[in-house]
Point group: C2
Chain length 399, copies 2
């Protein structure tokens, strides 16, 4: 067990855990693909990457937000697992809004760390584009407080628009700061062959785009996508059985908070993110300044700015200027969302958490192609559910 883990889990003798395989589908509006085939493709690529057959998997963790609403199918974990050739073992679906597969990954980690399983597979999947945009907005809104904010007419763009307005009011964040996040993530997505929208945009285009919920325009919002991503976990000491390039899970934490915005003391910060980060840093024995790159949950541009602040990369209120100054670009001080992020890579909500892990793994292994970063040995992923009711923060390093 890592000594620093005792700070967070004093009563356990957890084993160190590695990611020993990763696999993703392309993200996009994949009209010819159904939910199950996407999940099976990601799982198969992941198992191939970890050099094991499905029969070696001892537990299956599925992150999925709203398969029953998007495609009508529930009881998804055994449905997907059996199609992957995995049957008999615990197969469990985790739902935590857009942090569903972050939660699945967290629980897979706990299972392996505790010695319950030696080989665990975490898969995230969502199939969204078979519904109309209006219906998608309605389904996504079910991750908010239905009896309160949603009944009052809010959707997620509206909720994050209120957050953005408050952040502007409190800290002087500007439309240009938001647009800088969009421009940077679109530029990165161009370099990612699996991204949903590979299209560079300018600040002017972002500012002039169609308003969605003031002050957010079209380019401040992430995409509605189909896709899946899978991660294979094993004890670090056995990692060489699976891969020559294991990636260690240095720290990971899941936290919760109120669902409704109106219940939060301050909507310019997500308490759950701060708490998850603090736990993950303590587990890993690192501080924010040690992190070399990050995949952050930019469901909206303001969310990336807040994440920079809540994760301690910059002081409160400085996320906007930090972004506008280019510090989060591929060649910046702290590259953020080299993958293109949810904005450009795409956001099949249930797949996003494990996709972020796959993106970190690709960077750490030096396999990120045109978007490969120079400093890539310690990365952080932040996965957000709803407007901060669930948070998962993970820190990975070269093993």
């Amino acid at each position: 067990m890592s000594k620093t883990w005792k700070r967070v889990y004093p009563n356990t003798s957890m084993r160190r855990v590695a990611v020993v395989g990763a696999g993703k589908t392309r993200f996009g509006a994949l009209a010819d693909r159904d939910l199950r085939s996407l999940a099976v493709e990601a799982a198969a690529k992941c198992l191939e990457n970890g050099h094991i057959p499905p029969s070696r998997v001892e537990a299956f963790y599925l992150g999925n937000f709203a398969g029953p609403s998007f495609v009508g199918q529930n009881h998804l974990a055994p449905y997907v697992a059996s199609a992957c050739g995995i049957a008999g073992v615990p197969a469990t679906r985790f739902e935590a809004a857009c942090a569903s597969s972050g939660s699945a990954f967290f629980h897979a980690f706990l299972g392996v760390a505790a010695g319950v399983y030696d080989v665990a597979l975490a898969v995230g999947v969502e199939k969204m584009t078979s519904q109309t945009t209006a219906r998608v907005a309605e389904i996504l809104a079910s991750a908010g407080d239905l009896g309160g904010e949603i009944k009052a007419g809010a959707t997620f763009p509206a909720l994050f628009a209120m957050i953005a307005r408050r952040h502007m009011h409190e800290y002087g964040t500007t439309r240009e700061h938001l647009a800088a996040v969009a421009v940077k993530n679109h530029a990165n997505g161009v370099r990612n062959p699996d991204a949903h929208m590979r299209k560079a945009i300018t600040i002017e285009q972002a500012l002039a785009a169609k308003p969605i919920a003031e002050p957010l325009t079209l380019y401040d919002c992430s995409l509605i996508s189909d896709g899946a991503a899978a991660v294979l976990l094993a004890p670090l000491e056995r990692a060489s059985e699976f891969t020559s390039a294991p990636v260690e899970i240095k720290g990971v934490a899941q936290t919760s908070d109120y669902v409704a915005l109106e219940e939060k003391e301050d909507i310019t910060t997500f308490r759950s993110v701060r708490m998850a980060a603090e736990k993950a840093y303590r587990m890993a024995g690192v501080s924010p300044s040690d992190i070399e790159f990050a995949e952050l949950h930019d469901c909206f541009t303001i969310a990336e700015i807040m994440a920079l602040e809540d994760l301690g990369f910059v002081k409160k209120g400085e996320g906007g200027p930090f972004s506008a100054a280019g510090c989060t670009a591929l060649d910046g001080r702290l590259p953020v969302n080299a993958s293109g992020g949810l904005k450009s890579k795409g956001h099949p909500v249930g797949a996003t958490g494990t996709a972020q892990i796959c993106d970190l793994v690709a960077q750490i292994r030096g396999e990120a192609g045109e978007r490969q970063l120079k400093r890539h040995s310690l990365g952080l992923a932040q996965n957000l559910g709803g407007s901060g009711a669930t948070s998962v923060v993970t820190i990975l390093s070269a093993a």
Copy 2:
């Protein structure tokens, strides 16, 4: 760690775990209650029973099948947890069809056994009766294979009717055997003040009831109910801090299998139940003949008969005669569903797994009132998802 656990989990040094609190709502068609208030009531009763405030809970596990479809609300774990006064800690929703809260309980057990948490709360909840029966059937069908058996016109009563027909064909099981299960469970439910339908019926009434899906009549089918049930878990060595009547978790296992009936080799048995039982027995170091009483997943009467067989209480094909002979009655050799079971107590699907645990705990503590059994120190609960794609089997004993 229990020595026998090494047989199932050789790589862990798991701690022994106790149920130190239990709490349930009444089950029924509770028109004036919403999903969250049910879950909060069960959790509050459970925490009171375990003599701790919500702030002591270190992890929250929510079992819920289809809240998004039944009541429109998703992201339910933090939504319920925060309303219980639990915020900040991991709050996770588990969906495994009718085994959703069995799965939540299994994962709560792993968290405490592994030493990750000292105090974990598992809650199951479902609010079903706000939908029409036709819509309920449609939502339940999403736990089957949508593209296959459901598209072909099947609903769950139809699937279990096919299972019953095959069981009749292979083993000579009769309509009278099925009816005997219904009559016994209805009789037990009369003694349970929290049961949904407290109504004794005769064999003749059961046989003559409205056909639902041949050979199943109305009384072969479980109820559509609202309700919630909660269980508090802690390390056995610390149980006395919470209660003077701890109940030990001797063994628990979750397994999976194909979702679609057509993919199973034999539909008169659920492989996932046999596998989960075998693991749970090995963990507990007991055999079926040691079990003194059981709560079985009688979503349909044929399911109780199959469970008797799959759990090893009787040989294959003898579940029907065993039931008809009164062996599973309150004063029988192996009392089954003293609570009334899903048939009479009610079946708010997401709540059923944790409700079964609450029922075992009440018996083991000698607090089961009019339905209290004479031999009540070693009990088994079996929770089934869909037509056997998920199974959870738990063995509890007096600590």
